[in-house]
Amino acid sequence: MVAYVLRRLAFLGLTIIITSLVIFIVTQMLPGDVARVVLGREAGDEALAAFREAHGLNDPLPVQYTRWLANFVMGEWGTSLSTRSEIYPLVMERLKNSLLLTGITMLIAAPLATVLGVLAGLHEDKPTDSAISIASLAVVGLPEFVTGLILIQIFSRWLGWLPPNSLIESGATFAEKWPMLILPAMTATLVLLAYIIRLTRAGVIEELGRPYVRTATLKGLPRHTVIMKHVLRNALLPTITVIAISFGWLISGLIVIENVFNYPGLGRLLTFAIDRRDLPLIQAVAMVTVVGFGLANLIADLLYAWLNPRIRLSY
């Protein structure tokens, strides 16, 4: 197991290095001169040159990359070009908001989707399955903004129960926050549900067809024992991975959802930063997101390995 953990860590490290490289290259290629953006139109050539020298912008790109990565690891993320404030606390606050939304969504979506997926899988091609599958097929491809706008229409415009905007002030208490969390969380849940349901269903159907299920059935065990003790134990293992992958899916979704609801999370911050061409802020948000996604995958992989004797005992 130690070897497995190390292997996954090595893999994560490698992935983060490659992604950081991608992020660095892409953001370096952003049009516009950083010095000009920071110092403004009136700045003279000398001032620009001095700025570039001071910030190492004249160094070769590999040097700049290493310095940037090292600074990121040390938590020195610099100041935002547009808000002139420290990036680190800003990103961390937004990260907290995004994680709150993610957490609520996962808490609802993961168990609900698993149960529905298992139900659909156990009743393959029967009415229960058709109902669940068609419903999830219909929802799975709807862009988050469409789902979000429909929910706003229903719950705030027609019913007037919930606010259409989720402009949470920093320092708001949970009691103040929660009505504003419901709609974004619901939107994210709907999007995730469909995705997890489909994969869980497929897993259950696949396991049901395996010979060991026949062995268990022919022992004379009642069907519910066969399902609970044998089928689900194996069918639900991949669901862990599915949920981790859907986490990455959710991050993409949150960028849109936060914009629909004006929710002050990382996604909103990202679109804001891109609008302003705020290079250090873009880089910081992108890196935090990628590291978060990588960690989620790592945790899922380790959990999967730990629960799966075939992997746990082979390393």
Binding site: V2, A3, L6, R7, A10, F11, L14, R210, P211, Y212, R214, T215, A216, T217, L218, K219, G220, L221, P222, T225, K229, H230, R233, N234, L237, L307, N308, P309, R310, L313, S314
Partner: protein, 693 residues
């Protein structure tokens, strides 16, 4: 006790019911062992699943009754049926690995049935589990009980499943090809176990298999199924000695037995193929198209199951004539007479291998390399082939025998260039043979051809047979399109298939036909050396002989040499001139095919000889059985690699010292520390009677 009357099962396909079992009857008494023999598609497994009520989704029972102790299982309500199944009828399935729950400990899986069926409390169930594992001769029961299925070998998994089946003390045990996925030596040990268990417990057993040798050894009675029909049924001894149905006769004759060789015996082969489910019309004898004694009546009237010869049953119009000896129902495949081409090759060897080693890293990924570096672990290498010397003479056949993991397939793939060698010198007709495929010129490619184990994968499913057969003429022969077309047609005729197959896709061909095409493709380049890896092991028994004969005939016509690889000593003994026995990456013995049934042999070869489940009476003396498994190719044993399992283990010398190659007559040699004379005495004693000291 079990009484099946007129059972019919059909599978629904696109709204049409295709009969998989027709009008099947069988009755099994307490304590009786009944063999159910048939090829794939004969319906034998369907019968078993019908008894167990576990037919595949589209399968349904269309008629008949299955009575178990007086109760019709088919009309029993599901809840009652489950009770009967768990307690009175147990299954030992075909594929042990996937039949065990991968994420549950083996012991828990055995105990589960005990606790549920016998209402044993937890501790008692655990104790009983260990007893059961002991009973099925598992070396370390408590370790196996604690293991997950993937941690134990296939043989141990099957023993666990047998323990599971026996645990509830069932009255009937159904064994569905329980040894098919196991190695020869493991199969022999499991069969021994089953024989003694069935005998001791006096449990009734229904043994389903395609292997006639296994039935001969294990069963009191045999039923033979062919294409959904029960064709013959009787006492094992009587049926094997005097089969009445032409199919049974053909099946028995077409399997080579130990000691038979092509030089003195021509293998009779049943022509044609097993009809698919859709090609089985009801109003005729299903075997008629392949039958040597079929008459017009056989095509127009379905024979009924009649009593014949004692208490046997037979479904054949002509059985009275066969029984009285008026006609012979022995089958012979008819081919144009072989015109042997004189070999144009010189005296030297076609292929000569010296000191061949093949090793590769277990994993080559970057992340693994990093992990190993951090943990300070050495990168592990697989030693697939180690210090192998071999040579093949022109026109000769060298048989290569070994179990899975012996390295025989790697050796073959190294010669053809699909695997690169680590060390060693290989020469082909006197010229050095490059290791990499990309460095071999077109003539070298022409010289060596390969026939693959699995005909299902040997042909591109998206290319017509014609295109597949034309390619060698174009790429290697440099022929024009028209010449290639002509060549393809010629090859198709050479392997005995009709010309209209040229336009077909492989999906419409049977396994045997696909293998014929693969053979045609290999011979199209007129190769000097043909490498053949288990060419018939995935084919049905009744078509194997025809494919072997075809290969042998083409080989003689072309004057090609052949390296024939198999795990089946009898088949290799039949087809080869000389035999090499491989164990854990090394050749342990080379002998001529004629001396295969004589001693001395390497102790491993001896064990293989003892492990072949023959139709003929078995060795009289003490049977040699191997313990344990073929060692992993990563941690090979020191000294003689066979020492941990060797039944004739001498002592420390076997552990420390690599055995010398002891030369014997005819250029035979063995790699063993025991002097051949001593080996000969001991082996003859245990084979012919007298026991080992």
């Amino acid at each position: 006790m079990l009484n099946i009357q007129g059972l019919s099962v059909a599978y629904e396909q696109n709204g049409v019911l295709l009969p998989a079992v027709r009008d099947f009857s069988l009755s099994l008494a307490k304590g009786q062992t009944y063999g159910l023999v048939g090829e794939s598609g004969s319906g034998k497994t369907t019968v078993a699943m019908a008894i167990l009520g576990y037919l595949r989704g589209e399968g349904r029972i269309t008629g008949g009754r299955i009575e178990f102790e007086g109760r019709n299982l088919l009309t029993l309500p599901q809840s009652e049926r489950i009770k009967v199944l768990g307690k009175s009828i147990a299954l030992v399935p075909q594929d042990p690995m996937s039949s065990l729950n991968p994420s549950m400990r083996v012991g828990a899986q055995i105990a589960e049935g005990l606790r549920y069926q016998l209402a044993l409390p937890k501790e008692q169930a655990t104790r009983r589990t260990l007893e059961l594992l002991e009973l099925v001769r598992v070396p370390d029961p408590s370790r196996v009980a604690r293991s997950y299925p993937h941690e134990i070998s296939g043989g141990m998994q099957q023993r666990a499943l047998i323990a599971m089946a026996l645990g509830v003390e069932p009255e009937l045990i159904i064994l569905d090809e329980p040894t098919t996925s196991l190695d020869v030596t493991t199969q022999a040990a499991v069969l021994d176990l089953l024989r003694s268990l069935i005998h001791d417990k006096n449990t009734a057993a229904l043994y389903i298999t395609h292997n006639l040798g296994v039935v001969a050894q294990l069963c009191d009675r045999v039923a033979v199924l062919y294409a959904s029909e029960l064709v013959e049924d009787g006492e094992t001894q009587a049926l094997f000695q005097n089969p009445l149905h032409p199919y049974t006769k053909g099946l028995l004759d077409s399997v080579p037995r130990l000691g038979q060789n092509k030089s003195g015996y021509e293998l009779p082969a049943i022509p044609g193929r097993i009809p698919a489910l859709t090609e089985r019309p009801p109003g005729c004898c299903v075997f008629a198209p392949r039958c040597p004694v079929a008459i017009e009546r056989c095509f127009s009237e379905r024979p009924i199951l009649e009593s014949a010869m004692g208490d046997g049953q037979i479904r054949c119009h002509r059985w009275p004539e066969i029984a009285s000896g008026e006609i012979s129902h022995a089958v012979k495949e008819t081919f144009a007479p072989v015109k042997a081409r004189t070999s144009t090759m010189g005296e030297g060897d076609v292929l000569d291998i010296q000191g061949l080693r093949v090793e590769y890293l277990v994993s080559r990924s970057i992340t693994d390399a990093i992990t190993n570096a951090i943990l300070g672990r050495p990168t592990r290498t697989v030693k697939a082939v180690d210090e192998v010397n071999l040579s093949i003479r022109p026109g000769h056949t060298l048989g290569l025998v070994g179990e899975s993991g012996s390295g025989k397939t790697t050796l073959a793939r190294t010669i053809v260039g699909l695997v690169e060698r680590t060390d060693g010198v290989v020469t082909m007709t006197g010229l050095p043979l490059p290791s990499r495929l990309s460095e071999r010129d077109i003539n070298t490619l022409r010289q060596i051809q390969f026939i693959f184990q699995n005909p299902e994968e040997a042909l591109n499913p998206y290319l017509t047979i014609g295109e597949t057969l034309q390619r060698p003429f174009i790429t290697i022969g440099g022929k024009s399109r028209a010449e290639a077309r002509e060549g393809a047609r010629r090859m198709l005729e050479a392997v005995g298939l009709p010309v209209d197959y040229l336009g077909r896709l492989p999906g419409r061909l049977s396994g045997g036909e696909k293998q014929r095409i693969a053979i045609a493709r290999a011979f199209a380049t007129n190769p000097d050396l043909l490498i053949v890896d288990e060419p018939v092991s995935s084919l049905d028994v009744s078509v194997q002989a025809a494919v072997l004969n075809l290969m042998e005939r083409l080989q003689t016509e072309n004057g090609s040499a052949m390296l024939f690889i198999s795990h089946d000593l009898a088949v290799v003994g039949y087809l080869a001139d000389r035999i090499a026995v491989m164990y854990a990456g090394q050749i342990v013995e080379i002998c001529s095919a004629e001396t295969l049934s004589e001693f001395p042999h390497h102790p491993y070869t001896e064990a293989l000889l003892h492990a072949v489940p023959g139709i003929a009476p078995q060795p009289l003396g003490q049977t040699i059985r191997l313990q344990g498994d073929v060692p992993s190719q990563i941690d090979v044993p020191s000294g003689c690699r066979f020492h941990p399992r060797c039944p004739r283990f001498l002592g420390q010398v076997c552990v420390d010292v690599m055995p010398p190659h002891q030369q014997m007559e005819d250029g035979n040699w063995i790699a063993c520390h025991i002097p051949p004379k001593e080996l000969q005495q001991a082996q003859e004693r245990s084979y012919r009677g007298g026991g080992v000291e």
